[in-house]
Amino acid sequence: MKTNLKLRVQALGDPTRMAIFERLERGPLAVGEIARDLPVTRSAVSQHLKVLKDVGLVTSQRAANRQIYRIDADGVAGLRDYFDRFWQESLQSFKHAAEKSFKEKSR
């Protein structure tokens, strides 16, 4: 399943990134605020945020000279969309297989 979903799950497989993600679930924060209560450097936090951003879990916005990070609601909502698409495509495939085999059977 080479999908965005898998990349997101992998991104959250790292405990520090999960901790960052959990902090952002409570509300938007700047890098310094996230780094303050984590046992990692500010630049490490920035690296992790970049990964979360690349897979569409986190988004950022410039405000008062600071970069503010927040959870990307569209990215998170994409999870259900993933299953929606997954089943839509699979059910089409099922329909074709059922109709083809029925035609062959009744020939």
Binding site: K6, R80, S93, H96
Partner: protein, 158 residues
């Protein structure tokens, strides 16, 4: 940890130009004929997908060297009308035997004409993949559960 709210179901309806007995048969015993080959979680390349045709039957994939990897099990087996299957793949893309952590999909086969079947599909209870009762290590490992929980929270506030 926040309470996990329900995640909306995924629903689809399709019409199949075949009798419902045939549609049910292809969906279940014939699952390997329509399942996309890249939707696989086993360590070996996928050889076949199997749905055992009885209540409690396993749904699993078999690799080209014979290794079996469970996906879920049949909860309701009512041919040719209805089928409910537990989706037991957790956030780490591994099989989770605990049914309390499983979502499920239901498929209903409704006869429109003797040779046309309406198939109503629902995949529901995604929130069960995130269980509030687990320890923290479990939570960290279950990225998917966290995602689902976060999605549930965002869906609630949206």
């Amino acid at each position: 940890m926040n309470a996990i709210t329900a995640v909306p179901s995924v629903r689809h309806t399709i019409t199949v130009e075949a009798p419902r007995e045939h549609a049910f048969e292809v969906f279940t015993r014939g699952i390997d004929t329509w399942w996309f080959r890249d939707h696989s979680i086993g360590t070996e390349p996928l050889k076949e997908v199997v749905m055992e045709s009885c209540e409690g039957g396993r749904v699993f994939e078999r690799g080209i060297y014979g290794a079996e990897c469970d996906w879920g099990c049949v909860l309701v087996w009512e041919p040719p009308a209805r089928l409910v299957v537990a989706w037991q793949i957790g956030g780490d893309w591994q099989f989770d035997p605990d049914l309390a952590h499983a979502s499920e999909y239901e498929v209903r086969f409704i006869e429109e004409t003797p040779e046309r079947t309406r198939v109503e599909f629902e995949h529901r209870h995604f929130e069960r993949h995130g269980d509030a009762g687990q320890n923290i290590r479990d939570q960290v490992e279950k990225g998917w559960s966290k995602l689902l929980a976060a999605y549930a929270a965002s869906a609630k506030t949206a």
